[in-house]
Amino acid sequence: MESQLPAEFAVNVNQEKCRRCKRCVINCSFGAIEFKDKVTPNNKLCVACHRCATLCPENAINITENPLDYKDGYNWTPEIRKNILKQAESGGIILTGMGNPKPYPIYWDHMLIDACQVTNPSIDPLREPMELRTYLGAKPDSLEFDGNVSLKTELAPQVKLDIPIVFAAMSYGAISLNAHKALAMAATRMGTLMNTGEGGLHEDIAPYADRIIVQVASGRFGVTSKYLNRSAAVEIKIGQGAKPGIGGHLPGEKVGEDISKTRMIPVGTDALSPAPHHDIYSIEDLSQLIYAIKEATDYKKPVSVKIAAVHNVAAIASGIVRAGADIVMLDGFRGGTGAAPMVIRDHVGIPIELALAAVDERLRQEGIRNRASILVGGSIRQSADVVKAIALGADACVIGTASLIAMGCRVCQKCYTGNCAWGIATQKPELVRRLNPELAADRLCNLLTAWGHEIQEVLGSLGINAIESLRGSRERLRGVGLNQEALDILGIKHAGIGQ
């Protein structure tokens, strides 16, 4: 059946400027540009990934939204109508990629940071030391020293971060090996971490293992005792912000020789990650897996538990800490994904800002905040978001989409097709080749370096010289345009209120 769906985008080729080099034709991995005497776009196939427009040597290509007008309707938006057409033609669940694009409130943009003026001095980060270092892992309730003032307390394993930003879990399978390499190299150079996601650890990035969090998800792909021990930390993935409560399917087409090797499943089979871990139906069961991992790693690795931010997140996080996790990773509902049903991505979960505030508050009330570090992700877009998250109580932030954008992602949301024109969310060798891991690692390092400087500037203006001094310091945040309930949950005052 010929699809009745109208094209989303229009590819406009300036035929006068075009000198028929066909670079756009070769580069379009979605087959949206053909050469029929001249460059001829097929608008229906264009996803606005900008590969052609970016690489056109004559600057002759422009992509616009298809100017096809729809009869006005606030309720029946063009998107909703297009989705219905698509489902009427196929009977399928609509699959999508990246994070939730819907205009839900973004609380980061309703929080403002304090600064020093007159009565308290700010610090100039250009001239004075400014520490971004922090440590992930359980902290003791108290410290004991012996007569020589050396520490008697036995500390839980800690992972040092030179910058409080780590790369989010993205599996080899969802993204390419070159993308994984770039993340591993950048994490090592910047003294931070990358996260394998649930697809196992490829031998090529094993040399960076002490900067890698290895993940254990419900499919247990590539999980062996060697995998658990070759790591900076081990993460149990319960949920993901983009798709709370559901599992993942890596389609068989993407399971080639290399993916098969790291996931340890036969070539061409679907890699199905069921929604729950079948051995976890309670906090007690979670504790059982946490300690299974600790036993298998001789208590040398911090164990993280990653959950999606959902309504009851504070109580769940409390359970996770009591179950023995050293790190709680919270992923908000705007978090990205390689593939998720649109209905879940766009409608399930809660914003990370509220989840973080609720969890930090709950753990403090219960006197167990020290027992685990809190990592937060789910759309950390800029250094200001990092600062605000840490002031709300996070130990560090994770960035997924931002790191992909740094590598060249254009957020066209077609990750699940495996056709990523930028060599990031694809396993096709001819596309993977487009991403140079060294150059991508440089770009990731640049991003973190830039954000690091920005965070130092903000810390200086706050009059503090260490990121750890900001943690949970909600007094340094003020809300704008928020109702009282949101302010109460965030634990911040409205702008205009002094101390």
């Binding site: 609509i94 021990n229 051995d279 059982q288 299974a292 991992i293 036993e295 049903p341």
Partner: protein
């Protein structure tokens, strides 16, 4: 010389530490007495050691294990061979739920009955083909989400039902052999029932010979039963679920 440990009243943490440390210093054989519910025995051990357990070990016996041979001279609990990569676990009794979850290699031989969700999401990779054999009955969701490997259920104790509901729900790889009849309404919708071929008989015979030797069953009697073979209808059961 084997290392003999009296585990009466001992927490799993020191017990497993003693075993790990002894392996590092070259010990190859262990005998654990008075075991009563200690978890994680054999967890993540990569060496081909032998551990004999006298008593009932706790959950996650052999979790992430990669090589050892464990003999349990009693019943065992839940989560045996969880995400196990290689090795052998022989249980002279019954076992609990979710045994062999995500198991990728090695053998798990059970003399008696098994609980729910046996071999859930078991998988295979190249030469690593995990095998689970249970001599008695099994509960619901036998082979749920199974992605590879071999499971054999014998029903030697004549108990009924032989296997619970939803056999092979979500199955997309591997093969199950059940000695006896399985009613269609007990099967998950991703499974099809087949007769055994000659190769099948040869295949299960090779494992059952060893199995019978461990537990003293009569091999010919075991093989004389009529087996049902279950395989997935598709290796991509959810391939048509989505639209792009």
């Amino acid at each position: 010389m084997n290392v003999r440990i009296d585990a009466k009243g001992m927490h799993y943490r020191p017990l497993n530490k003693i075993i790990r440390d002894a392996i590092v210093s070259g010990e190859k054989e262990f005998e654990l007495d008075n075991i009563g519910g200690q978890r994680y025995i054999g967890a993540g051990i990569n060496e081909s050691v032998k551990i004999t357990i006298n008593g009932t070990p706790g959950n996650d016996l052999g979790v992430f294990m990669n090589g050892p041979k464990i003999i349990v001279n009693a019943n065992a609990q839940d989560g045996i061979a969880n995400t196990m990569n290689a090795g052998e676990i022989i249980v002279h009794g019954n076992v609990g739920d979710i045994i062999g979850y995500g198991m990728r290699g090695g053998k798990l031989y059970i003399k008696g009955d098994a609980g729910y969700r046996v071999g859930i999401h078991m998988k295979e990779y190249k030469k690593q083909v995990p095998v689970i054999i249970a001599g008695g009955t099994a509960g619901d969701f036998f082979g749920e989400y199974m992605a590879g490997g071999i499971m054999i259920l014998l029903g030697m104790n004549g108990k009924s039902p032989l296997v619970g509901d939803y056999v092979g729900t979500g199955m997309h790889g591997g093969v199950m052999y059940i000695r006896g009849k399985v009613d269609p309404f007990n099967l998950g919708k991703e499974v099809s029932c087949l007769e055994l071929s000659e190769e099948d008989t040869k295949l299960i015979g090779s494992y059952l010979k060893e199995y019978c030797e461990y537990f003293g069953f009569d091999f010919d009697e075991v093989m004389s039963g009529k087996f049902t073979k279950l395989v997935p209808l598709s290796i991509r059961p959810y391939g048509n679920l989505y639209v792009y």
